[in-house]
Symmetry: C2
Subunit: 197 residues, 2 copies
């Protein structure tokens, strides 16, 4: 089955949600490691329902359009549980910034330094946001987040992954920017290349 389906099941295993709710989860917290647009989510829900892994109830609302609230079925839960411990299919990495770094020797150092400085700030921003979430969790869910049988633990695990990832990426960006900006090596005059600056 499509990985997207398991992303949806993973959310529905925690609570009942409408397609619109799922869309928002796929933007914010879950979207940090698996994202999808609503144009993928609605057809996916239909497919999952056809396969008997989810079911929905129409909920009439006043003040808002009606909605379809989806829940996971017993069969869906079984499928999700099975999937979790299967080794993931290896997806190729595709990192555009690293690809740019591969050709960075061709370009203006100052421009490149600015690029990596800027990208580094974005990773630091995301890192700060993750750190906030972690602090909030430590305050509100200190017990559950240490219990591997609690969804809070699982959420915390993904958060830890995000923190490590962004920290490492930000550091690399800083190193890149510094390397591009470095004045002519002060101590080692290479051979020709006389006096820096």
């Amino acid at each position: 089955m499509r990985t997207l389906g398991y992303a949806v099941l993973g959310l529905l295993s925690r609570e009942e949600l409408s397609g619109y709710d799922l869309k928002r989860w796929m933007e914010r917290p879950l979207g940090y490691f698996w994202s999808a647009r609503h144009s993928q989510i609605y057809p996916e829900l239909a497919r999952l329902e056809e396969e008997g892994l989810v079911a929905h109830t129409l909920v009439e609302q006043s003040g808002k359009p009606d909605k379809k609230v989806y829940r996971i079925t017993a069969e869906g839960l079984r499928a999700l549980e099975d999937w979790v411990t299967q080794p993931p299919g290896s997806r190729p990495v595709r990192d555009e910034l690293t690809l740019k770094a591969y050709s960075v020797w061709l370009t203006d150092k100052e421009k490149a330094a600015r690029l990596f400085r800027e990208e580094g700030l974005q990773h630091e921003g995301r890192l700060a946001h993750y750190e906030d979430l972690r602090a909030w969790m430590e305050g509100e869910h200190q017990d559950e987040m240490r219990d591997p049988a609690s969804p809070w633990f699982a959420t915390y695990a993904t958060l830890r992954r995000g923190i490590g990832y962004e920290k490492e990426y930000a550091e690399w960006c800083r190193w890149m920017a510094d390397s591009m900006q470095e004045r002519e090596p002060v101590e080692a005059p290479k051979n020709s290349e006389a006096s820096g600056k």
Copy 2:
């Protein structure tokens, strides 16, 4: 233009290559951060040639089929240089293992521990491979890899990124596996959560 095109230009800016050579680069060293199959590469080369960014010469070989050797044009080089310092379009992250972690609270702890242990080993393996490459570079290209105007610097930069990434990922996998395997908390009776460590 398609990012794949810039990946191809990035390789051709360093040396002339056939489609088959490009395919192999996209498997091994470049494929660590941008990969493509030959079924994408051959049409891409045709498009790049149509746009005047690359050109090819037919090279007849004995003992092997003939081949088309591609080189980057002046226009292609300009396009590549421009692209390098443009901010990358933000691609959504899609990490299947982290997605599995999000639902790990549902499953058998031992099975999950095995999964993360195994995945961690794979990241450690890649890390060891990258460290080998770095050691080789330190030996063979110690000067060029410190010069931001040298392709060796750019290659080293991507290698550094790979090392940081795999190290971080392997550590997280270890932490996950340990967390799933932990015996009932020995020292802290859960609610109190006293004593640090």
